[in-house]
């Protein structure tokens, strides 16, 4: 499965990190691993930023049972 920008694997990794962070406080070792991954390439940083932005937007949306 690939998208137009051909970065699906990077996208999945970015989501992975956000999900892990959502469920638990990352350990120092995890945080270092994430930083290393981000330092690896500008594509990683760009896609992670995109995922972060989307994650933030989804957090602004009330659940359907909270909406009128």
């Amino acid at each position: 499965m690939d998208n137009e920008s051909g970065d699906d694997a990077v996208w999945q990794t970015a989501i992975d990190w956000l999900m892990r962070e959502h469920e638990e406080t990352l350990s120092d070792a995890d945080r270092e691993a994430l930083h290393a991954w981000l330092a690896d390439s500008s594509q990683h940083r760009r896609v992670f930023h995109e995922a972060e932005q989307l994650w933030l937007l989804t957090g602004m949306i009330p659940r359907s049972d909270e909406r009128n």
Partner: protein, 170 residues
Amino acid sequence: MGTQSWNAELEDIFVNQRPRLCCVAAKVLGNTDQADDVVQDAYLKISEATTLFEVKQPISYVSRVVRNLAIDRCRRSAFESALFAKEEEGDNTSCASHSPEVIAIDRQALAQVVEALDELPERTRRAFELYRSGSHTQREVAQQLEVSTTSVNFMIRDALTHCRRSLQGR
């Protein structure tokens, strides 16, 4: 509810529940320095976002957004410290004292994400909602929906990827 009364209700929450909201933020941030700032940021973002939808249980919604924004800020300040001060081994247990840039809500993008989530199959949307807004873990969502944790994991990925594509296709 009209825009007027919603704005009044929102203001009322942010004035009267401020100490409680600051507490929610401070708990995540590990300090009280930025809590007020996060609460203010939440107020601005929510005022902007809620022109798109009406909220039935504003207090739980507002608290959740404050918590989300605190988590987001924590992460970003941790990254910035890591990227800009790699040689310095700082204190990782609480957030750095500087304020990362506050990102404005893109209302059009938000509207698109609302739409994209509504396009998902019912169970996928429910799983994503429980996860993202219900603060449940994947395991808990799986138990609630009586599916495997693996399928919950896939549903969350599907939901986010669908939103991404929808935003990319703008």
